[in-house]
Structures are given as structure tokens and as C-alpha cells.
Symmetry: D2
């Protein structure tokens, strides 16, 4: 049974050696290791997958590693590789990302437990989606009920033990308060190649501007709309002949795969936030 | 010897039939035809490649076609396929696009005659480039000489009979007056995926924002900086590990191919301006 | 209500003019037209979308067009734009393409009626898929029952009036007899970038060879295995770190979108078979 | 001044720790490290960029590291980061890759010294290429002079101290003897997406097959034609309308960038051969 160590700290000599030495001394073999020394910010990021050699114990390592973490001032975490992150999905009218995430989770592509789906549309809107027991919460929203609705979202997050929130084409802007509570663990899919076409109706903006490629962007949600750290982006070629409706159709494919890749990276703990950007170790 | 007919007009029934009938009646065979009915603007665009059947004459067709053009209110042009457009290239310090265009022209990829190179740096800056007789004009520019320099650019354009100007990483913003004179026949390469990162140092902007793809955009120059009708765009994947310098390096490849594709499209008369956008018939 | 005229014939002067003239004379306006003159084979291909001007009738055009068709020796067809093609989907164990096609059909992306699903695995294998009334046929297959099973496939095709068969990761090789019956209307998705890695376990072949991109190919089925006319292909970048299992996962995304694009092209009558190749007019 | 340590060995616990400990103990700071544990072959690959902390010496490390190398049975090498690899370029009639490599080297993209160009066509064939003092060797080849020509190639490699040979569209098949001498340090660009379209005239093969994407492949040369370990590949979309000549034109762009990326990876010591495949650490 392997484990994943993730850490970040101010860069200084000796980190890799210390981590390597620690794991070896505790009977662990390094299976995979990636690191990044961000020379702009001075931060160092590392992800190590390790497994016990022979019958070395892998429990109790956290307590032992704490000393190393303190010495280097690390933010660190050790997680069993098999950990399934508890995840809440929020959705509005368009369900292509929701349907896709549920399918990928079901066939084992995304190592997560979906602890609930929160929608501001009723269950009937997704009549053909078999949720297979995943709790569905209809939380409609109106200008004057936004605060209550968000309180309910937050309650559901807490009570379900959700570690991650995915805005799967959830078309509501979260309040600064809720964003703060979900900092670093709320992923949104925006249907444009950011920083182009922020805000509403990006495919119509793209059509109006006459771009030759459209894209989608998965990012962590921050209080600045569509400005959070970008995790993943992709594009596809379009032409003058594509109507806004065609862009919406082509865009769905991009949105689905960009969001799924970003979520997989997060679940595998390959994504680190570094200021307004991310470090994403290739999977 | 084939010819190319390009036309645009307000859309109404019968255009294709009238063009097809005209060409057939004048002994011409249609080799290639593309059309686009822009339902947003109500404009119709068409490009037809045709060649005489047997020994039918192809000269004098313009005079005959004028009646058709008048009937439908067309902007139209008939050009021999083999026409080599007279082209002026403008460049600043970075010469990768210039070198690339000259090479492509030389091996026959770009059907144009380069009638001159205008640079705001001296000839020695491009010492290793064999211009093979293409006139080189060093037109340095300073804040108080911009007007004179542009007058000289315009004089060189006129005297050389240049039909097209290519800003091959020419880092000077043209005045509104010169832009007006070059309307629809001045192509710029911008080193970002527009509309993201307009203006100066786009690779540094891209680095600061943390995007996961960088791109380049070829567009017609208009008075609104980096807002002209887009002809071609492309992107490449980058990662957190790419420094601004690496982006500049990777970007050079994108810039070169995007500009060359846009220029080829223009030379082959596949590109039409439709308001703030373009119609580009695939080659 | 618009219609689509598709035709192919030996190329000769006057086709475009004749078609344009015919439609105009019968009160029809051309909305979209694409053509291709295959100089290698001498065949000409054309697709025209047209709609009546004012209250001109669009019924009865077939009878009138027959004369034009005869004159040029055309294979031709006129279909109402809104026609929903009757489609049978065949599937084996992996259901990602089936699930994707059903979803796209449901949200209106694919203008077809799914008249049935034929699987060599039982309905329980796709327990979470809501077929919403689409008939499901479990037709298991064993070496000595292949002939009977195919007879049953063919009976279901005929009785349901299916115009198109989609092999959505159907892992059985069809007999030459069945292939002949489905000529030009049976689309398969192969999970490699053909012509590389024909036959079984292409992702494992790709892993063994160490390629840096993997792909998928949608093609019409012919008696030569994985050699039919290619409709659409796409690829994605992989690395040395990708296990065969990772390739299978990444490949699913490619397969889904390549198959969906090919099917959409076929449904919109943008795909023509030209010998061992296809002509695909852009959508 | 930083250095690059590259190593491979049979995988076993403790390698990362030992390397990290060694470097730290010798006053070196790890700037960049990548590793790959190839579970299929049991081999371990690592690349570490390190630099001295303060005024620690970085000379003499090889002698010290030898003990670590022996302990783990490593193939290893330590190279100064600034090392410019001595490179010989071989070319035939088409010079787009040669011209591109010379340009990239000149502007500092490729950290190599070009010690010579060997061509089986005379210098005049590349009249417009400014070699700026790079020795040019015209070594024509005929069926009965192949052995002598190759002896001359090998003599030039040795006398120039060339560490790398680039076959930049060199259209001669090397003999097994010469291939053996250049094992692991001879990079070829093949103008197809291997394993599709091996051998001669791949663009014509691609046209005949009707593929929808064409590509290029850079690989190490081995005695099996077009079967050596693949370093880099890329593709571009084409259509039914592309003639073989258009494929050749579009292919040139792919060939140039694929070859340049492969060469850069090799120069930066990011590419390891692992049996019939490569491990390429991202740059």
C-alpha cells in the first residue's frame, strides 16, 4: 500500500536529501517523485509516492515526519494512495459536466466518493441521470435567498464531510464568504480560454470577436471572478461557419475533459497552489 | 491557366446560380468553390477557382462579369491563380518571422514577391540573412521622427507597388493615418492568444497569469490595437516550469507558423473581412 | 424548411451551374454549398443546403431533379434537413461510447433516432444507463453461433428500419456477408491512430512501441479489418510514464469525441466515400 | 555554475536518498530533479540539476560520486550545464530542417556547436544558407561508393569530435556498421507519424490511405529502419482537399519543430534510451 507525501516550503538546500533520507531510514521506497523550485517566488514544491520495503510499517510516519516538516517550515501532508476524496458537485441547468463526472467516477477513472449533488434546478431536470444513491439536494436560489442558500450549501459540505467542491457548470457566483471557506478546494470550469472572455456568455463573446479557437479553463475559485489559479486549459479549432450554438456544442466536449483532468490532478494531489498560479505535476 | 473569382455582397437568392451560369456560358470550368452565407450580417462571400474548357479564352472576363457584379451589388475581383502578390515586410529586432517568410517564399511555399524589407534596426542586425537582392530599408524611429518615418514607409509601399504589408514582429504601433492607408492589406502577428494579453510583453503577462497554453494571433491591423479581424491562431501547451524565456522560445514556433498560414491564406485570396471578423476558406 | 442535396459523379464542366440553375428555377435559395473535385479519381462531390424562397414548394423536387441527375450520371439524394436517421448501436463490454452517444442524442447534439442497442453482454452490464425505452437486444456470441447471431443482427436492422449501424466499441469482427449488407452505413471506432496498431489491444501495442501520442480512428467498416475509409481521427500526447491502463483511460476520451464527430458528419450528410477514402465537408 | 547528473540503474530502494545525501554532503543544492521508475523493465532513470551552495567546489565530484555509482550499478554522467554538445548535421536535398537547426543554434535556442554539415548534394544546393564558417562536406553517394562515403562520414565525426549526429532529412539509409558506431547519438526525423507509413514517400502513403492527420517522428537511429526509440512526435490536421504536395508543405512545419524539440531534449540530457523506447523528462 503506497502513500503520497506532498509538501511545500521556502526553498533551501537539503530538502530532497532530507526527505529521501527520512523515507529510506523508515523502510520506505520512493516510487515516484516530482519537485519544482519556483525561482520567482522562492517556494519549493514536492510530491513523493512511496511504499514500504518488505514488511516495514507505513503507519505512524506522520508523527515521525513532523520533525522534518518543522525543520524546513513545510506545509505537508501524507495520504494513503487509495484515499477516495469526498466530493460535492454543484450544478445548474446544463448537466454535461455532472453526467461526465458521475460516469468517470463510476468506471473508476476518478478516485473520489461523490457525497452529494447540489443543484439550483429540481431533480427532474436531470431525469435520465442515475445517481445510484448519491444524495441530491435541490437548493433553488433567488436574489434575496442567496445568503440562506449558501448557508445550506455550506451545511451540506460540512455534514457530508466533503473535502472538495466541484462547480460543474454551476452558474451562480459564490459570495466571498463561501469562497473563503472553500479556499483551495473548490474547482470551477469556465467555458472560455481565460483570460479571454471572462464573465457571462463566453461563447457568444468568442463568436462576436471572431476567434479561431475556443477553449475552457478549470481553476480554483477565488473572490476575483474567473481569476483564480488555473489548473488546466484546452482548446479546439473553430471556423467562421460556427454559430454560437455550434460553439456551445463544441465547447461541451472541451469543458468535460478539461474539468475531468483538473479534478483527477487534484484527487491525485498533483496540483499545488502557488500564489495566483498552480504547479501541476504531470500524471 | 486558372483564375480566382472572389466576391461578397448582400445575400439574396440566385447568386450561386448566376455565377455558375456565367462561368459555364463563358467556357469556364469550376475547379473549386467555397461560399459562406453570414446569417448574422446578411453578407454572402464566395471564392471560385475556374479554368477554361478547351481553348476558351479567359481574358476579357472582367468586362463581361461586371454586369453580374452590378446586378448583385458585389465587391468582386478576378485574379490569375499564378499572380504573385507584391509584399513588403516590416521587422524590428527579432527576426524569426522575417527569416521564416523569406525561406518559405524562396522554396515556393508563399506565392509572393518580396519587394522590400523595412526595419527600424540596421542591416547588420540580420547579418546572417541572405536577402538575395531584396531591397533593405533601415528606417529608425524615435518619438519625434515617427511621422517622417511613416511617411517614408508609405512612400516605399507606393513606389514598390506593394499590395500587402506584413508586420513580422514589427514592434511599432502604426499611426491611425497609416493604418487607414493599409486597411485590409496589413497583417500583424501578435504573440498571444487574443483577446488575452493584448499590448506589450504578452509572454510575461501569460507567465504572470499562469495559463497552461500560450498562443499567437495573426490579424489585420486596425486602429484599435490588437483588435483587428483575426485570421489565424494557434497554441501550445506549457507548464509551471516554463520561465518567461521558455515561453518566448516556444512562442517563436507558434508565431512563425500562424503568420505563415495567415499570409498564405491572404495570398491565395481565401480570407475575407466581414466587419470585425474574417471568413477564411480552408486551403 | 431546408433540404440537403448530396451528389457525386464523374467530373465535367457545368455541374455547379446546372445545380445552381435548377435550384434557382425551382424557387430555392442556396444556404450552404461545398464541393470537391477529386483530381486523383476524377470524381466530383457536392453538398448543397437549400430552402424555398417565399412560398415556393419544396416537395416534388426529386422528380424534377432526376433529369439533371441522369444528364450528369449522378449518384444523388435530397433529404429534408430535419430528417432523423434511424440508427442501431452495437456494443460490447466497454460502454463509454454507447453512454456518450445516448447522452448526445438526448440533448439534441446528434440528429438521429436510436432504434435499438445490440450487445453481446446482458443488460445488467449497463445497469446505470437509462435507455429510456430504446429496445435493448442481448445477442451473445460464441464461435459456433456467430452466423446465427449475425442473422439476428441483420433481422433487427431490417425490422427497425435502421439506416446506420454504429460499432461503439463492439469487439466482434463482422463477417464479410454482414459487412457487404452494411456497406457505407456502418461506422466503427478503432482505438488507435490508424494505420498504426491495427487489430487487438492497440493501446498495449502503443505502449510497447513507445509512441508519444495515441489516437483513435472512426471509419466505415469494410471486409479488410481496420482498413475502411477513415472519417475522423484525433490524438493526445502521452509520456513514458503512462502505463497501458493510463493509455486506455486517456484513449476513452479520444474515442468518444472521434466517434461522435464522425457520426455527426454522417448524419448531416457531410461524408462521402471516394474509393478507399472519404471526402468530409466541414461542419 | 550548475551541473547535470544523469543516471540509470536497476531500481532498488534508497537511490534517491543516496543521491540527495551525496549532493547535500558535498555542498550542492538540487535545483531540478526528475526520476522515472520503469516498472515494466525494472530500470530506474534520474536527472538532477544541482549547483554549489556558497563557495563549495563543484569540481572533483565525479571522482567522489564513483562510489555511489558502483554501489547501485549505475550508468551515470555529470556534465556542466553550459556544455555545448559538438554536433554534426547530415542533409540531402531538402534543407528546411538544416536551415531551421542552424537558425535555432544561432539565436541560442539549441546549446550545441555545429562542427560540420555533411551533404550528399553540393554546397550550391544550399546557396542561400549562411553557414558562417561551419565546415561543409560534400560527400556524394552512389550504390558502389556507399562504403567509402560512410567511412568518410565516420572520419569526419571522429576528427571533429562530434558527440551527436542529426539526420536532418538525410535520405540515405545508414549501414548497420555506422549505425552501431553512432548508437544512442544519432537522431533522425522521419516524415510520418510512426509506426504508420515507414519507408519511402510517407506523405504519398498518407494521401493514398486517406488519413485525417499527418505527423512526423524524431527517433534514435537503429539498424531496424524507422523502428528506433521514438523521442518526439507531433501531428497536424489535414483534409481530403490536401494533395500530396500540400502534405509535403504542411509536413515541413511538423518535421522542423519535432526535430528541434528532440534535439533540444537530447542536448539538455532529458532523453534516456530504455530498450526500444525513450524516457523523456519534460523541459
Amino acid at each position: 500500500m503506497s502513500s503520497i507525501l506532498t509538501l511545500s516550503c521556502r526553498n533551501r538546500p537539503g530538502i530532497v536529501g532530507a526527505v529521501g533520507h527520512f523515507l529510506h531510514a523508515h523502510g520506505q521506497d520512493i516510487r515516484e517523485a516530482q519537485q519544482f523550485d519556483d525561482r520567482a517566488s522562492g517556494r519549493f514544491f514536492m510530491r513523493v509516492v512511496f511504499a514500504p520495503v518488505g514488511d516495514a510499517p507505513s503507519s505512524g510516519l506522520e508523527a515521525e515526519f513532523a520533525a522534518v516538516g518543522r525543520e524546513f517550515g513545510m506545509d505537508w501532508e501524507i495520504t494513503p494512495s487509495g484515499h477516495r476524496m469526498r466530493t460535492m458537485i454543484l450544478v445548474s441547468r446544463f448537466d454535461h459536466c455532472l453526467v461526465d463526472l458521475v460516469y468517470r467516477q463510476r468506471i473508476g477513472e476518478l478516485p473520489m466518493d461523490i457525497v452529494g449533488v447540489i443543484a439550483n434546478h429540481p431533480r427532474e431536470s436531470y431525469a435520465h441521470l442515475d445517481l445510484d444513491g448519491i444524495p441530491f439536494h435541490h437548493l433553488p436560489i433567488a436574489p434575496d435567498t442567496k445568503m440562506e442558500q449558501e448557508a445550506e450549501v455550506w451545511r451540506l459540505m460540512r455534514e457530508s464531510g466533503a473535502e472538495l467542491a466541484i462547480l460543474a457548470r454551476y452558474m451562480q457566483v459564490l459570495s466571498d464568504g463561501l469562497v473563503a471557506k472553500l479556499a483551495g478546494r473548490c474547482i470551477n470550469i469556465h467555458h472560455s480560454f481565460l483570460p479571454g472572455f471572462k464573465g457571462a456568455k463566453p461563447y457568444h463573446q468568442a463568436y462576436a470577436r471572431g476567434v479561431k479557437l475556443i477553449g475552457a479553463t478549470a481553476h480554483y475559485v477565488t473572490t476575483a471572478l474567473d481569476e483564480g489559479p488555473i489548473i488546466e486549459q484546452d482548446v479546439e479549432r473553430i471556423s467562421h461557419g460556427d454559430t454560437p450554438e455550434a460553439l456551445v456544442r463544441k465547447g461541451r466536449d472541451i469543458e468535460r475533459r478539461v474539468l475531468a483532468r483538473a479534478v483527477l490532478g487534484h484527487l491525485e494531489r498533483r496540483v499545488f497552489i502557488s500564489g495566483s498560479k498552480t504547479v501541476v505535476f504531470a500524471g
